[in-house]
Symmetry: C2
Subunit: 401 residues, 2 copies
């Protein structure tokens, strides 16, 4: 039987406790297993394929929207530009709601159903809200998405369109995570928040897939945009489980990237602190990673120390530049999704990453989700009358431009 | 060796002729094969998997972005609502640039490279422009995307971000298709337009996948949003090839759906005409299927007659309603992508589709591409102060609402 275990003090809790954080130290829990020679199964359904590594006795395919199984793309041009010979992108923008969140959401929903819940919720301004709204609707569950009261309509539509109840909450958005857990317990609503232990289980399938796509020869580096810390924790957990089971023979080194305008983890890492502090008001276009008080921040710090990882920041200008470079190579990512690319320059020039190292950047969400960031960039657009088509195309050629 | 054959008069042309339309009758060409016991291969690369059914001797995996392999989802709730027991959606929104176009584009790009081109182009206001821009960039080709001069910035960004040269052309957008072919020939630019014979080859993989996903028991009906007619032609061709090779034992019946505000094919079908007429100015929110003079329109009419297909229209109100219904079941499609769902009501109530029939709707592109259509719809949004979270969620429950 799987169980929950505190990531900090190691205290154990039964799997049906419905807890997400340690009742002693308050730190996040994770799922622990007694694996008995688990196998990767042949299936197009993620929870079935990895069923031996997940805590579901009967994963329900009817809940699935086809999450996971995303491509690992070689970035040849970008690699050449940076002097990296083996640069890859794990393209999570091809998930059903166009971000990595769908992996964790299906695990959360399966868990909520197994545990007898009929209502789910989450606290999110973007990807996670859309994902939970979609899967909640698929599962026929009443779904509540708590968003910041300042959210733009552009971001509400892709959530509410799935039929969820969207609640704009005025007040401290950072505290909403904890308040949602309290209210969820009170009302019997399963809040699948950013670092819910089951969401971590979903994120670990990113690591599993990378291992398989690289023929079980793990990369030297994995770079992850990090906000709450849930996705990072899941990816690390996936590599550790495969290593412990002998499926890979070593771990990659892990790099956390945050936006300079909201970097509580990178800041604490730089200052050698063991705990993060509330960052204050986020100032970055990378909204997807702008949690000023990441609930798994301390655990991310512990992981980085234990596994000799790195945390660093990139500014908005670098993020937009990275979005464009990545689009030319050819994933149109949202700003938050492009931060691993934005970090490469510094990592290579400081000699942290060697030119021959194999590097995987996790590209978390689709650029269509937020067009504004690249709106002001100068695009190559010509306007011509119909009759001038030939000369316009002729003049626009590389030799003539 | 594959060859081109006119869809109307049957005239043949060599595969290296670089033609897309018949030099005698002007109608579109298609690729014909002498199949020698082709097999479906094990591969994550679409052109490799179906290489025995495609005209590429050496498909280049480096061009791939992970196109195809999209889920076929059962729509249980929506089926129940409409009284259909076996309703499915082929979710093409999970392609690399979030529409079905990527399948045809990789075929077009592979063909252009095999034929020695270094520049590609297309005429598009949306999905196809983004797709060709992305794959052209991946292939390192100079890429020209011709768009209407009235296009909104929201639609230009997801094209130009990939680094393409975007040309806004003033004048008759309908004629631009033909002008692009002429100028392309003059300048040596391979225009992979909507019904390019190689694009048809890409679209046929939708049919191949549906057959496999249904264990080679084809559905009774396949419903396709139709504009230029290219995707429809490809899907039909895929089923025919599998039938002719004995992989399936019968064909589905095919249904073309157009927006009432731009329905040159449905109109000609209704009037029993053999040729479409220019529809005039399109008036529909389904921009993705608003070609007023579809270049494959006549061939679509021929197919419908030959195979006892159907063409019908849906209005904008029905399209928006279908978008919302589909999102609740849980694909957020662009308006054009939701038109098969919009047509179901009429098809069932008129007794054309029987309740026990198996129906596949092809959902062509992602809702994120055009949020405006559902902007005015009333969404369930509550705004509350932080302290009222518990009561707001409690009151919002089904029993209390």
């Amino acid at each position: 039987m799987p169980r929950f275990e505190c990531t900090k003090c190691g205290k154990e809790f039964p799997f049906d406790s419905a807890l997400t954080r340690c009742t002693s130290c308050g730190e996040p829990l994770e799922v622990k297993y007694e694996f008995a020679s688990p196998e990767i199964h042949k299936s197009e359904f993620l929870l079935e394929k990895y069923r031996d590594f997940l805590p579901f006795s009967r994963p329900n395919k009817a809940l699935s929207l086809g999450e996971g199984f995303t491509p690992l793309l070689r970035l040849k041009k970008l690699g050449e530009m940076l002097g990296l010979h083996n640069l890859y992108a794990k393209n999570e923008t091809m998930n059903p709601t166009w971000s990595f969140k769908d992996r964790g959401t299906i695990c959360g929903i399966q868990y909520a159903l197994d545990s007898g819940y009929s209502e789910v919720g989450t606290v999110s301004t973007g990807n996670m809200g859309a994902s939970v709204a979609a899967y909640g609707s698929r599962a026929g569950m009443r779904t509540h998405i708590l968003v910041s009261s300042s959210i733009e309509l552009e971001k509400v539509i892709p959530i509410s369109v799935y039929g969820a109840h969207v609640v704009k909450v005025e007040g401290d958005y950072g505290k909403l995570y904890y308040e949602s857990l309290r209210v969820g317990e009170e009302l019997g609503i399963c809040f699948i928040n950013s670092d819910h232990p089951l969401r971590i289980e979903g994120s670990k399938t990113i690591a599993f897939e990378i291992c398989e796509q690289m023929s079980f020869e793990p990369p030297d580096w994995v770079i992850v945009p990090t906000s709450s810390g849930g996705n990072f924790r899941g990816i690390v957990k996936g590599f550790i489980e495969f290593r412990d089971l002998g499926l890979i023979d070593r771990l990659p080194r892990f790099i956390v990237v945050q936006a300079a305008g909201c970097c509580p983890i990178a800041q604490a890492f730089r200052e050698g602190k063991e705990e993060i502090r509330h960052f204050g008001r986020p100032k970055t276009i990378a909204h997807g990673i702008s949690n000023p008080y990441p609930p798994s921040g301390n655990e991310v710090l512990r992981i980085l120390r234990r596994l000799h990882g790195i945390a660093l920041t990139v500014n908005d200008e670098e993020i937009i530049k990275a979005q464009l470079l990545l689009a030319r190579e050819v994933i149109f990512a949202q700003p938050a999704g492009a931060v691993p690319i934005a970090a490469l320059d510094e990592l290579v020039s400081k000699g942290i990453i060697d030119r021959n190292d194999t590097v995987v950047c996790v590209i978390t969400g689709a650029g269509l989700k937020y067009l504004h960031s690249v709106r002001q960039v100068s695009h190559e657009i010509t306007t011509i009358p119909f009759e001038q088509l030939s000369s316009a195309l002729s003049n626009a050629r590389p030799s003539g431009s």
